[in-house]
Amino acid sequence: MSENKLRAYWKENLRYLAILLVIWFIVSYGFGILLVEQLNSLSIGGAKLGFWFAQQGSIYVFVVLIFVYVYLMNKLDKKYGLDES
């Protein structure tokens, strides 16, 4: 494995991490905490939206984030021939 190829792999990995963690931050700290007042003027079913993000919505997004990460990384491993089998 050449040095350059490894560096490229790591860089792509870091880019995925950055994007996914930004989403992680926005749904919990953003929607559930910092912007909760503003979002509470909207609603989902019978719940205020900000309240819902703090108690349920962010958790659903967390689960999806991990599975998206797994999918992206498995693809990335294959692209660089680094998958284990």
Binding site: L6, L34, F51, A54, I59, E84
Partner: protein
């Protein structure tokens, strides 16, 4: 059949199951004892991680806490799930690639220093003991309430069970028992939730019931109804909460980062065969956890509404049976201040007549909702499964820290495989006995510090591990100083504001208005900054160590967890 008979039957069956699994999955080697031989399937590991992670606090206390905190309860919901995103993305795959047995193993090797290893061992033991004492107490409480035995007898029975399968089976026994315990606890949590959600909102799925309307004919949304009840009684609105935004932010962060730094959770990812298995099993773990964690806020809101409707301005003499039953345990107390024979449950402490312990909400909920006896018994078995599975995982971390990180890696490197296994089993035995002692004689600080175990983990391990993976330049000096300063600052803040040492202080004296529960965030940032500054002022790590870092960043060639 009575609740008691049902409880004996259901708890008896589950215990027989755990013991059967323990005998079937005895550990024959240290590798089986430490990491279950490294051959656990990702799905099984996901379930085991979920059971390991969800403790008596998640099962028994959390919905009750949220029920009384309303919006503020979101700190636990987000904090105790969001950490898995950090674990899956930033830690699990790399630590699996590293391929050793423990967190101190990683710290010791990555920072080429036995001092770092020892600091990590001490941190692991402090974190795990503060956590495990609470679990044994939880076992005692469930036993005393549901099997009507003495709390201490309950703790002895719990100790005997954990001792049996942790000592015999090590990680292998624990893993497969935890899979069974997950099934028991999630079934026990969901069955009453379905019943209650259907009764309160007409929707059987509690996650949707929370968003639905109440079935009392008023066509109001459940949460609006609850807000209205709160306003009438003078409480803060259920969906608004009372904590400051800064504090909410910091507590959530401390719990998330602490979760990702807890040694008994991290070590679970050493048990799967490959790096990609470590990634996906973190996903399964969070999925299994999320089932309970998205149900909890629904149960909290249902229980709160139910409780207010049942007691508020109702005749004391006409209270249902569960009310008087919990009164005998002193977890519900009523004092008729204005002698009108009615119960006034209001926010103002001078006229409020009812005090309710938050811990009983989940345990009492099936009775409050009038569910059948077998459901009530099921909840007891679920609470025990949650407490026992977490206790076992923590005890394994403690015994491994002693037998491997101290004896094998430092004191007596030439110890034979057989003797190391004996040391591990002895370590587990001693740890169970100490945990049981704290369960029977809970020092004041136990209840106060269980939540703070997260702050301690956040302040010590998380930065050292993250920097060890993502910052190749991070060296021994930086990591050790960071860990020592981080955990010391956290311990100081905890002792000062929780236990009144060093002059004590009240909420007005908190630094930046941050509670001790949220201070782990500040301590973690201090650790990070100090580590980075010190490492840049001292020599770079040796070439071999930089090669280790290069190597853990790529997934291929993970192979087995190796014992050197």
């Amino acid at each position: 059949m009575s609740v008691l008979t049902w409880t004996y039957i259901i708890v008896g069956i589950t215990f027989a199951l755990y013991i059967g699994i323990a005998i079937w999955s005895r550990a024959g080697s240290t590798k089986e004892f430490y990491v279950a031989g490294g051959g656990v399937s990702p799905l099984a590991n996901g379930m085991a991680t979920a059971a390991d992670w969800m403790s008596a606090a998640s099962f028994i206390s959390m919905a009750g806490l949220i029920s009384f905190m309303g919006y503020d309860g979101g700190v636990y919901l987000m904090g105790w799930t969001g950490g898995y995103v950090l674990l899956a993305l930033l830690l699990a795959p790399y630590l699996r690639k590293f391929g050793k047995f423990t967190v101190p193993d990683f710290i010791g090797d990555r920072y080429y220093s036995n001092v770092a290893r020892t600091v990590a061992v001490i941190c692991a033991i402090i974190v795990s003991f503060t956590y495990v004492a609470g679990q044994m107490r939880g076992v005692g409480v469930v036993f005393s309430r549901f099997l009507e035995v003495d709390i201490n007898t309950g703790v002895y029975i719990g100790m005997a069970i954990v001792l049996f399968y942790a000592v015999l089976g090590g990680m292998k026994g624990i893993t497969y028992t935890q899979v069974a315990q997950y099934c028991v606890l999630i079934f026990a949590y969901m069955v009453p939730a379905f019943f209650i959600s259907l009764a309160m909102t007409g929707n059987v799925i509690p996650q949707f019931g929370l968003l639905g309307n109440v079935t009392d004919g008023s066509e109001m949304a459940l949460l609006d109804k609850l807000d209205q009840l709160h306003r009438e009684l003078g409480f803060a609105e259920y969906t608004s909460g009372t904590k400051s935004m800064t504090d909410i932010f910091c507590i959530t962060m401390a719990l998330m980062v602490g979760t990702a730094g807890l040694p008994h959770v991290i070590v679970r990812f050493f048990t799967v065969p490959k790096v990609r298995d470590a990634r996906i099993s973190a996903g399964y773990a969070l999925l299994f956890i999320a089932i309970l964690y998205t149900t909890a806020p629904a149960i909290a809101a249902f229980a709160r509404t139910n409780l207010i409707n049942t007691v508020s301005n109702k005749e004391y003499a006409a209270m249902p049976e569960w009310f008087t039953k919990w009164e005998t345990t002193k977890l519900i107390t009523h004092e008729d201040k204005n002698n009108d024979g009615l119960i006034q449950y209001v926010a103002d402490p001078s006229t409020n007549e009812l005090t309710i312990d938050r811990d009983i909400m989940v345990l009492a909920n099936p009775e409050i909702a009038g569910l059948p006896n077998w459901v009530i018994a099921l909840v007891a078995a679920g609470g025990l499964a949650a407490a026992l599975s977490t206790a076992a995982g923590l005890l394994l971390v403690i015994s491994t820290a002693v037998s491997r990180d101290l004896i094998k890696m430092q004191l007596k490197p030439d110890i034979s495989e057989r003797n190391e296994l004996i040391a591990a089993r002895l370590g587990a035995t001693v740890a169970v006995v100490i945990a049981g002692y704290f369960g029977i004689n809970p020092p004041d600080f136990v209840a106060a510090t269980v939540a703070l175990a997260f702050g301690l983990a956040a302040a010590s391990f998380f930065p050292a591990i993250i920097l060890g993976i993502f910052d190749k330049r991070m060296n021994r000096e930086g990591a050790i100083t960071g860990m020592v300063v981080g955990i010391s600052v956290m311990l100081f803040y905890m002792l000062k504001f929780k236990l009144g040492r060093f002059g004590g202080g009240t909420a007005e004296d908190w630094w930046f208005g941050i509670s001790p529960e949220g201070f782990g965030t500040v301590a973690m940032v201090i650790n990070l900054v100090i580590s980075i500054v010190v490492s840049r002022l001292t020599a770079a790590p040796p070439k071999e160590v930089q090669d280790i870092v290069e190597d853990i960043r790529i997934p291929s060639g993970a192979g087995d967890a190796v014992a050197h």
